[in-house]
Subunit: 147 residues, 2 copies
């Protein structure tokens, strides 16, 4: 059943997902979109990085979080994209071998237009040690149910 | 020459880049990280999308913007990653065939620790018609020059 704007309430929470982060995927993403040495050069990262080894691009972490959100929330929702994101934070590095999951909480629901509303939600991404690695507050447009 | 924290000043501006957005890359990114129908299904997007056709994932746009930043700014800088991003906004859809460029302006420089400082900068991404498609304010850590 499709989730429309009217089906979402402030305080709704959800927790799910399991995304395995491989070294190969970290390198592939970073070589295309974020070829800074601490994302694409494992040897130099092992020797010199302040993070103590190769870490994923922050945009890769955001993108993996998005994949979890699509699989767990947006795939069944009448969502038509986000207007923006606030307070995007990278709290801890994401490393090869990590497994990510997310927690999601609805903060605000605003009927914006006759045909759609805005859902403001906080998403937190955790690793297998329950360390917060990433968080953001997103503003996603949802279609309203037609009567 | 490597650009350190001390080499960056409030008001510094820069404008550069040319990233050609292909339909193939839009699909490849979205299939992996954002498989919502308006990013991965060209036929349905042509028929039903409120955007009037296939559009890139917003995270893809952010990632392409990052690639421009790395090629034009961070590649020569003693930057060691971002703490976070504020006010991330998707103003206009990015479509197959678009060519993106960016404008960058330094907003604040904060000496944070003896060995590093924080550069707060606004980045705007434009398409070939000079339409603003994406913007963000990022907080990037730069190493300080050793005396």
């Amino acid at each position: 059943m499709t989730v429309f704007f009217e089906d979402v309430s402030v305080g709704d929470t959800d927790e799910y997902g399991s995304y395995e982060v491989t070294r190969e995927e970290i390198l592939r993403f970073a070589e295309q979109y974020d070829p800074q040495w601490f994302h694409v050069d494992p040897e130099r990262s092992d020797e010199e990085s302040p993070y103590g080894g190769l870490i994923a691009s922050g945009w890769h972490t955001a993108s993996m979080t998005m994949r979890l959100l699509v699989d767990g929330t947006f795939g069944d929702a009448a969502s038509i994209g986000a207007k923006g994101v606030d307070e995007l934070r990278w709290w801890q590095p994401v490393r090869p071998g990590d497994t990510l999951r997310i927690e999601n909480e609805v903060l605000e629901t605003t009927p914006e237009r006759p045909e759609r509303g805005l859902i403001r939600a906080r998403t937190e991404t955790y690793n297998q040690d329950d360390e917060l690695v990433f968080s953001m507050v997103s503003n996603v447009m949802y279609l309203r149910r037609e009567d």
